[in-house]
Amino acid sequence: MSANTSSDRDATPCAYTDYREGAAAEDLPATGEDATGLEADIWDALYGIEDPEMPISIVDLGLIYGVYLEDDTVTVDMTLTYSGCPARDMLTEEVKAEVAAVDGVDDTDLRLVWSPEWTVEMVTERGEQALQEFGLSV
């Protein structure tokens, strides 16, 4: 899980990024820091969803790669820690339901994306604290 370490950090940021390549790794995970209005409400809803096995929000775990709002339609780009994740349906259904329940959201679309692949580097600082309190060393 320790791929994408030093060599990537030294790399020059890529000026051109398209959807196929996913967002540049240094911008991930998305955390909605600067979101306002309806978008901020959506991020609040996402923060409220916990990983099924650990007391950590899926946002702090680094699973959310993007939230895109167009009129009243929301698209969430999300990944999973590994491909055989048995909680896949449970988590994706929960994300769709929680986002759809936000006041002002009309339509929700969820895209599972796999690049760049999730590694433990995606966990936010707050996520690391939560995991440490839980007894995991990250």
């Binding site: 791929a3 959807y19 196929r20 996913g22 590994y82 491909s83 055989g84 994740c85 048995p86 896949r88 599972l112 994306v113 796999w114 690049s115 760049p116 692949e117 999730w118």
Partner: protein, 290 residues
């Protein structure tokens, strides 16, 4: 680019995509079905967990590939549980039953498969289909552990001979190799020659099956020989290029829809509960939510 929007695909593109991805998914799904037979039967608790975990990864990968087919109107549940067994396109390597209790069989099979997987995934990294390219990295990084696991065990089993006394591991490996090698070669057999050409021409994959097969052989032959195993092919020292000929291949090749009898038994087994419970529709707790 056509593959960005699956709704616009023409017949030829659609068929090439279906051929490529069905093969990837079926290999992974059937291999996982076989791996799970080792649960609570592997030689140690650690190896039991490792193989169970690999099986779970393979199911995850199968699902990532079946997902891609969903865009062209094919449904995962239909593909796994409603499809005629003759329409599965996996290699016969993954459908063969294990010799009873033969851990060397699963270790070698896993090596053959994971080495091939590394080669063919590399050829998909720059696929013209964005969803395929998006998934390759994740799958590759998980498969790397499988390869490491297989090689780790292969080396220990092959060592059986040199440590004296216990030649069992080495002998079992050689027997498994003699049985499995022809089936491993089917990994690179065509589903349909025309569609295979389309897969490369349309940029879905950047190497032909022949090229993938040659690369695989250039990796596995020297490695297995370095372990003191004999691979049943004659390689001319002056002309080391090795070609797969018909007499090296088994009668059933999987890719073309022909399968060994063991496949039909396995199919009956994994679809048994589904049929018995009439699971043609997902179970609902209530007719209408209240």
């Amino acid at each position: 680019m056509a593959f960005d929007d699956p709704d616009t695909l023409e017949g030829r593109e659609r068929r090439a995509l279906e051929t490529l991805v069905t093969r990837l998914a079926d290999d992974q799904f059937v291999l996982a079905e076989r791996y799970t037979e080792w649960q609570v039967r592997a030689p140690t608790l650690e190896s039991d967990l490792a193989l169970a975990n690999n099986a779970q990864d393979e199911l995850g990968h199968a699902r990532l590939w079946y997902d891609v087919l969903e865009d062209i109107g094919l449904d995962e549940q239909d593909l796994v549980y409603e499809r005629d067994p003759d329409d599965f396109r996996h290699s016969t390597l993954v459908e063969r039953p294990f010799e009873e209790g033969d851990w060397a069989d699963v270790v070698l099979r896993s090596y053959f498969y994971d080495a091939a997987e590394a080669v063919r995934l590399a050829a998909l990294e720059d696929s013209a289909h964005p969803k395929i390219a998006d998934r390759v990295g994740k799958i590759r990084s998980e498969e790397e552990y499988h390869l490491e696991h297989a090689q780790n065990w292969l080396e220990r089993l092959a060592d059986g001979e040199s440590e004296g006394g216990d030649e069992d591991g080495h002998e079992r490996l050689q027997n498994a190799l003699d049985r499995l090698f022809p089936h491993a070669l089917t990994l690179f057999e065509p589903v349909d020659p025309e569609r295979e050409a389309d897969i490369v021409e349309l940029g879905l994959r950047d190497a032909t099956l022949e090229e993938l097969g040659e690369e695989w052989l250039s990796i596995v032959l020297p490695y297995l020989e370095s372990l003191g195993l004999v691979v049943p092919v004659d390689i001319d020292e002056d002309d080391p290029e090795f070609t797969v000929t018909d007499d090296l291949l088994p009668d059933e090749r999987g890719r073309d829809g022909t399968h060994t009898d063991a496949w039909y038994d396995l199919y009956d087994e994994f679809t048994h509960t589904y049929r018995e419970l009439e699971r043609s529709e997902p179970t609902k707790l209530m007719d209408t939510p209240q």
